[in-house]
């Protein structure tokens, strides 16, 4: 029974994590685009005078989308029309099930894998489920019974289908190097050192595959420079007939896809939950200093927030005084909590359970940092590169990426076979 509760709890936590990543990514997108285009970005919406640098705009958006008229145009196929956004969101959330945020937590004979499902075909699950997203797009375009969405859906079906092949081939190259599709084993293998110095991350073994994978992931998530399915600014996309939260669900699905693609890329190519040079055993043995280090990172973050708050205009009547107070207070709390954690780490003697937890926390932090870095990469690319023309897009996919990925795979297999013979 407790096992069922634990498994259900992991699923709930994963869904909550992904749902909270959506507003965070939207906020990062808006602020980063503002930064890149030399403007301020959203900063108006607030609660009780608190604005948190535009963070509350996401809440306002959700409220607005939920209370807008839910238009179902005349003549649409009702069931598929309603089903399409629901399917897109479901599939996007489910794809993340197999991605581990840290090594298996184990203490006193109990071991808990830190992902929803530890499948031996884990990587395949992500591909299988996330590529079902194309059904939601095609259903949406077809059910809308309108010309523009239909054309948009056809465009995007061709695009998603074309980039799926190089994406999968790039992932297979990595799986080939490590000889497994279980995400935990792939990440574990990336902790080994090559030349006795560098961690054997996928990006080091398969740099070409990494480039192909990231390009394919941009296309699969409909992000610029490959956002032809959507084409919000000039060509009309598949979801033009959708309003209110149905439209919002397509957007949520897109951002969750970005998060999942980043997490998968981090797992395959950036060592997943591996903290560079510190395998799980080392993290557990030296749990005290590790906790102290985590505390120090927290304290530094808090200090940065505090310093930022001190630069805001002060005084009771200053426009953002409450922001300054709240951010400063949070920063101060962060500093105190960080220092307390550091002191605990240096002073107290930790039990095996606590050691495993500290190690898992450090690994989850490393994994989160890698994933968010890749997410930021997605945002950065979107506001830097112009969009491809349709024929350029298909040409890049079929004439360049596919043969390149295939050649990379064959070369990898050849090199691995040669290495295997040499070491025999």
């Amino acid at each position: 029974m407790s096992l069922a509760v634990l498994l259900a709890a992991k699923a709930v936590v994963l869904v909550l994590l992904l749902l909270n990543l959506v507003p965070l990514l939207v906020w990062v997108e808006r602020k980063a685009s503002a930064l890149i285009q030399d403007r301020v970005g959203p900063n108006r919406a607030g609660i009780l005078g608190l604005r948190f640098a535009g963070m509350f705009h996401n809440l306002a958006d959700v409220g607005k989308m939920l209370t807008k008229e839910d238009i179902v145009p005349a003549g649409v196929d009702r069931l598929p029309f309603v089903l399409a956004p629901a399917l897109g969101l479901t599939v996007a959330l489910a794809a993340a099930a197999v991605i581990p945020v840290a090594d298996v937590w184990s203490s006193g004979g109990r071991s808990v894998p830190l992902q929803v499902a530890d499948l031996d075909v884990g990587i395949l699950w992500v591909f299988a489920v996330s590529s079902l997203g194309v059904y939601s797009i095609v259903l949406a375009g077809w059910a809308s019974r309108s010309r523009f969405p239909l054309l948009g859906a056809l465009r995007s079906a061709a695009q998603l289908v074309s980039y799926e092949v190089p994406l999968a081939l790039a992932a297979i190259s990595v799986a080939l190097c490590f000889g497994t599709l279980r995400p935990n084993e792939i990440v574990e293998a990336q902790g080994d050192l090559v030349f006795g110095a560098l961690p054997q991350w996928g990006i080091l073994l398969q740099p070409v595959a990494f480039v192909i994978f990231v390009t394919g992931a941009l296309a699969e998530t409909n992000r610029l420079p490959f956002d032809l399915p959507e084409g919000e600014s000039e060509i009309v996309g598949y979801h033009v007939e959708y309003s209110s939260m149905k439209f919002g669900m397509f957007m949520m699905a897109e951002y969750i896809h970005v998060a999942v693609a980043s997490a998968l890329a981090a797992t395959l190519f950036l060592g997943g939950w591996q903290v560079p040079w510190l395998p799980t055993e080392a993290l557990r043995t030296h749990a005290g200093p590790v906790l102290a280090g985590l505390g120090a990172i927290g304290a530094l973050g808090g200090a940065a927030a505090l310093a930022g708050a001190l630069r805001l205009p002060r005084g009771v009547t200053a426009p953002r005084s409450r922001d300054a107070l709240a951010i400063g207070g949070l920063g101060l709390a962060g500093v105190v909590a960080g220092l307390a954690a550091a002191a605990t780490g240096l002073g107290a003697d930790l039990g095996p359970g606590a050691r495993a937890t500290v190690a898992a926390a450090a690994q989850a932090l490393a994994f989160g940092a890698k994933t968010l870095l890749l997410c930021f990469g997605f945002v950065w690319v979107r506001w830097t590169l112009p969009r491809f023309r349709y024929d350029q897009l298909m040409r890049l996919g079929w004439r360049q990426l596919t043969p390149l990925a295939l050649a990379n795979l064959v070369l990898t297999a050849g090199a691995l076979a040669a290495l295997g013979e040499l070491s025999r």
Partner: protein, 126 residues
């Protein structure tokens, strides 16, 4: 790890079941909430399909030429190939040379087909 006892089914798949149920439930809840909270004030034009303001002409449910059907066929070929490659990647290290030769023949045949499709102009878009 490989070749051990089969993994416990419940432990492996129950989480997936919960996650799928939860995601689908969330999607349904969002749809329901938005349908309940949204106002209903149509004008006659609200329910028309979007066509940049031009009055819609002709039946909207007619046959559409999917120009890229060759792409779809090629995708199926390549994706089947990929399906074999997933399994191949896992067992590759058991006997690398044999596996390399076997998949080399397979990819070679596919490569000939790919070159033929290229020469026939399957990758031209106008």
């Amino acid at each position: 790890m490989r070749g051990d006892n089969p993994p416990p089914v419940f432990e492996t798949y129950f989480g997936l079941l919960v996650l799928l149920t939860l995601s689908a439930g969330l999607a349904a809840a969002l749809l329901a909430v938005s349908a309940v909270l949204g106002p209903r004030r149509h004008e006659s034009a609200t329910l028309d399909p979007y066509e940049c303001g031009v009055p819609s002409a002709g039946d909207l449910r007619r046959r559409t030429s999917v120009r890229y059907y060759v792409t779809a066929v090629l995708f199926i070929l390549f994706d089947l190939e990929v399906a074999f490659l997933w399994a191949w990647a896992v067992v590759f290290h058991e006997s690398p040379l044999e596996n390399l030769a076997a998949m080399g023949v397979f990819i070679g045949v596919l490569g000939v087909g790919y070159a033929y499709a290229w020469a026939k102009g399957a990758f031209e878009w106008d």
